[in-house]
């Protein structure tokens, strides 16, 4: 039998050194007994550690995951932990993958220990309550905490980083941690009566605790799972938990029984008029009216109506299909990637972007949510029809000479019927009202083309189409 005595309850380095020697000397787990100096178990063990631990040659690999687990598990209060960890290490040396086998009893036990330690650490971060001693510049903050495991050294750096600008001490029965504003230090454990008894803010904190609690939603079990009673002793707010619970029913009853108040007279915003075929109007008034449109269901899930933009005296009106994700958020047409492509193409074609009115056939974004993104959906004919009134009224205000329909949805709106792009693309078409129409693709179609060569070609064609518009823009300068 080999006897190993570790310096402290949390002596991971000592354990690691000894365990490595034991493995290298082929000492099976059943032949090793672990104790801690001054610990209870030591009374039953021979005082002198076995000499083989002086030997420290050779090394072997274990997974980082084991080291991480062992560092935590060694802080567990279970007296068997050193032996259990050694047993697992012994088995891991020939079978590295064992650490991934959650169903292995040793792995499961060590994992459970590590988890208990981390939970206790987390609870210490949460439930330490500092009490102020002295005031102002001389203030020192002292807390009393009773950890379940040997976690003081593990948990202390958190407080040092959080409360760097104030001197504090956390007293526990095992070990006390101190921060002087510069460095952490540890002293041996003390008893509770060395801790300060009260803080001037505790009454305020209790009042907050009582006020933030909603008596109509009593869920005592849920509270206790997260804040087990063993921690209550040292929480200033715990003293009022029982009275709060006892009073909850009465308070809820009182709320229900109390005379209710009559609401104010509803101050409804002026009802948005249902859009009808109205006379041509000023552009701003039109925009405002469209902001409240409910002529089809698309308004429901979208953020806002994305109305057309551009000068009122534009000779050219560009009609896209519908706003996309970015347009929907920003409330402006053609601000996304397709908009950037359009801007570039217009410039290359020689169209003055500032003199063009841009809009969409459908003014709300149609999509289906897929997790964190929205998948664009093609508007259906009833939606295109419902939305056409806005397009028509935009036309009657702007009075453009040329209307460029980009994509099938736009063409459908401009011509009032389903119009394939292929046959009509790239030439001027007379509209019944005397205006000209030009059909081309939508820039987002270009963005979606997978083949880079086709992309370049199609883009060129798009620019060519727009050049027809440029010619018209130059030919027919309108007086502003």
């Amino acid at each position: 039998m080999q006897y190993i005595t570790l310096d402290t309850e949390t002596d991971f380095d000592g354990w690691r050194k000894a365990a490595r020697s034991l493995v290298l000397h082929h000492v099976p787990p059943t032949d090793a007994t672990w104790t801690v100096q001054g610990g209870e178990a030591e009374l039953f063990a021979p005082p002198a550690p076995s000499p083989i631990f002086e030997v420290n040659d050779g090394t072997f690999n274990v997974s980082a995951k084991f080291v991480e687990l062992a560092k935590a598990a060694i802080l567990h209060r279970d007296g068997e932990r050193f032996a259990i960890l050694y047993r697992l290490l012994w088995r891991l040396k020939d079978n590295h993958d064992l650490i991934e086998v959650a169903t292995d009893p040793d792995v499961a036990q060590v994992t459970a220990m590590a988890r208990a330690v981390h939970r206790d650490e987390h609870k210490m971060h949460a439930f330490v309550r500092f009490r102020e001693i002295g005031r102002e510049r001389a203030a020192h903050y002292v807390a009393w905490f009773e950890p379940e495991h040997h976690i003081v050294e593990l948990a202390a750096p958190f407080f040092a980083k959080r409360f760097a600008d104030m001197p504090w001490s956390i007293l526990t029965p095992d070990l006390c941690a101190h921060w002087d504003g510069h460095a952490l230090s540890f002293t041996s454990g003390v008893s509770k009566n060395e801790a300060p008894g009260e803080d001037r803010l505790e009454e305020t904190w209790r009042r907050y605790y009582a006020s933030i609690f909603n008596p109509a939603r009593l869920k005592v079990k849920a509270m206790q799972t997260e804040m087990p009673k063993k921690y209550w002793r040292n929480l200033p707010e715990a003293s009022i938990i029982k009275p709060l619970i006892e009073d909850a029913e009465r308070m809820t009853g009182a709320m229900i029984a109390n005379a209710a108040t009559d609401p104010h007279k509803p101050q409804k915003r002026p009802e948005a008029p249902m859009p009808r075929k109205l006379a041509a109007d000023d552009l701003e008034a039109l925009r405002e009216e469209a902001a409240h449109c409910r002529a089809c269901p698309l308004y429901k899930d979208a953020t806002q109506t994305v109305f057309g933009e551009g000068p009122k005296d534009a000779t050219i009106m560009l009609v896209g299909e519908q706003p996309g994700d970015k347009e929907d958020l920003a409330g402006h047409p053609f601000v996304g990637p397709a908009g950037q492509m359009l801007d570039r193409a217009l410039q290359e074609a020689g169209v003055d972007r500032n003199k063009v009115y841009v809009t969409n056939a459908v003014k709300h974004f149609k999509f289906v949510p897929r997790g964190k993104i929205r998948l664009h959906q093609k508007p259906a004919t009833p939606e295109i029809r419902a939305c056409r009134q806005w397009y028509e009224r935009e036309v009657s205000v702007i009075q453009p000479e040329l209307i460029v329909a980009m994509g099938a949805t736009a063409a459908q709106s401009v011509f009032g019927k389903i119009t394939p792009i292929g046959k009509t693309r790239g030439r001027l078409i007379d509209l019944p009202d005397g205006r000209k129409a030009l059909v081309t693709v939508h820039p987002s179609y270009l963005l979606r083309l997978p083949d880079p060569e086709a992309k370049v070609l199609e883009y060129q064609r798009f620019v060519e189409d727009l050049k027809i518009a440029a010619g018209l823009q130059k030919k027919a300068p309108r007086a502003a």
Binding site: D97, V101, A164, R207, Y209, F213, D262, T303
Partner: protein, 411 residues
């Protein structure tokens, strides 16, 4: 009025807001010795729990509970007879710092009734955050409620100081908001959410492109919202549809569901009943299925329908799709495993890692932290196969219904 009394009034006024989290932000601490506070990027810390089971992690208060609006579901509405109070900016700052120093809280969640104008109110809220950050170098968590339609510059400033911003959508349907809160404009709320998302996206792009100029910081813990459940007649399907839409549209970190509960001095226009807590719980479970398990709203609950109250939504889904089960735990894909009742994401990770090396047996379930009773009818293990027809039993569902239990509380 002394600060303690104000705190009582203004915390009481804030308790109907379900959001409490202090999670998901950037990592910060004060080890440079200037100022105080830290945040953990992962899980936030709950410093206490109220007897309503809810976590207390932030000082959650209103700057004032005076409000111009008369939203029927709200305790602070103009026609309510509750006592009113208003904190000064310095009072909130001091309370936050004092509580923080004693490790009572992770930070501040500040909201406000709307007084004077949206811009004025927002400016007051932002002032508190500005003071905490710039004068006191407070590094703890700050969550600010955004006032819809507040000026863009104020929103940008709020995002500079706050970890999280939120605006409550309040009602699952536009029509109910119009009915209960005629002065609130759901379009304005959505527009503000949209603006927030554009700013969040921009900040994220800046971070990833690593430009030389220090990127403008904007609410690293993102935005969230709250919906009140049970005040109107919206179905669970409607509620979840709205949530899915909000998650997709505005990249919300969380939608909080708040069971409508009686308020002191309620409006005559609303029913006063015990809050539908179980329904709220089921909605959170369903929301979880959407966010972490890739479920679609349509899979979770049929059109215009309600979630079952007696069993959880995943189990309900599995019972509706018995043809997909039993599933061989040793072979099934991750996606399939995630759909087994009782299998959480962590359990699935453990299963996948374990089965690379060894076969999973019946006796292993406990070590994998899987509830046996729930999972067994749906899975095949090397030494377990549910009896044939087991899944067909019409009474299978009975097995899962909770035994009637008493809510116990022993001292």
């Amino acid at each position: 009025m002394d600060v303690q009394r104000k705190l009582e009034i203004l915390a009481d006024a804030a308790k109907y807001d379900a959001s409490c989290a202090s999670s998901g932000t950037e990592k910060r601490d004060s080890s440079d010795g200037k100022g105080m506070g830290s945040t953990a990027p992962g899980m936030g810390i709950c410093h206490s729990y109220a007897p309503d089971g809810r976590c207390i992690s932030l000082l959650k208060v209103l700057l004032t509970n005076a409000c111009n609006y008369d939203c029927l579901y709200c305790v602070n509405r103009a026609s309510s007879n509750v006592p009113r109070a208003r904190f000064t900016i310095d009072e909130v700052v001091k309370l936050t710092l004092d509580f923080y120093r004693r490790n009572y809280i992770e930070g501040l969640f500040l909201s406000s009734g709307i007084i004077r104008s949206p811009d004025y109110t927002m400016e007051q809220v932002v002032s508190v955050a500005r003071k905490l950050r710039e004068e006191h170098h407070f590094r703890g968590y700050i969550h600010l409620k955004t006032i819809p339609e507040a000026d863009d510059a104020l929103i940008a400033e709020a995002g500079k100081y706050a970890d999280r911003l939120s605006i409550n959508i309040e009602m699952p349907e536009e029509t109910s908001l119009q009915q209960y809160a005629p002065e609130k404009d759901v379009r304005a709320i959505r527009r503000t959410m949209g603006r927030l998302r554009l700013k969040l996206d921009e900040a994220e792009e800046n971070r990833s492109t690593k430009t030389k100029a220090r990127p403008q910081r904007f609410a690293p813990a993102g935005q969230s919202t709250q919906m009140i459940v049970g005040a109107d007649t919206a179905s669970d399907h409607t509620i979840l549809h709205t949530s899915a839409n909000l998650y997709g549209s505005y990249r919300l970190r969380r939608v909080y569901y708040s069971a409508f509960s009686p308020i002191p001095d309620a409006s005559r226009a609303l029913p006063l009943v015990q809050p539908p807590l179980l329904r709220e719980h089921r909605l959170y479970q369903a929301d979880w299925l959407m966010r972490f398990y890739g479920f679609d709203v349509a899979e979770i609950v049929d059109d215009s329908a309600m979630l079952p109250l007696d069993i959880d939504p995943k189990l309900a889904w599995a019972l509706r799709h018995r043809d997909r089960f039993p599933l061989d735990v040793n072979r099934a894909s991750r996606e399939e495993l995630l759909r087994v009742p009782g299998f959480g994401t962590k359990a699935v990770e453990r299963i996948i890692a374990t089965r690379r090396t060894t076969t999973i047996r019946l006796s292993d379930l406990a070590r994998l932290h899987v509830p046996r009773n729930k999972a067994l009818p749906f899975i095949v293990l090397s030494d377990h196969r549910p009896a044939p027809h087991r899944l067909d039993e019409a009474r299978l569902i009975e097995r899962f219904k909770p035994k009637a239990t008493q809510l116990g509380f022993g001292f």
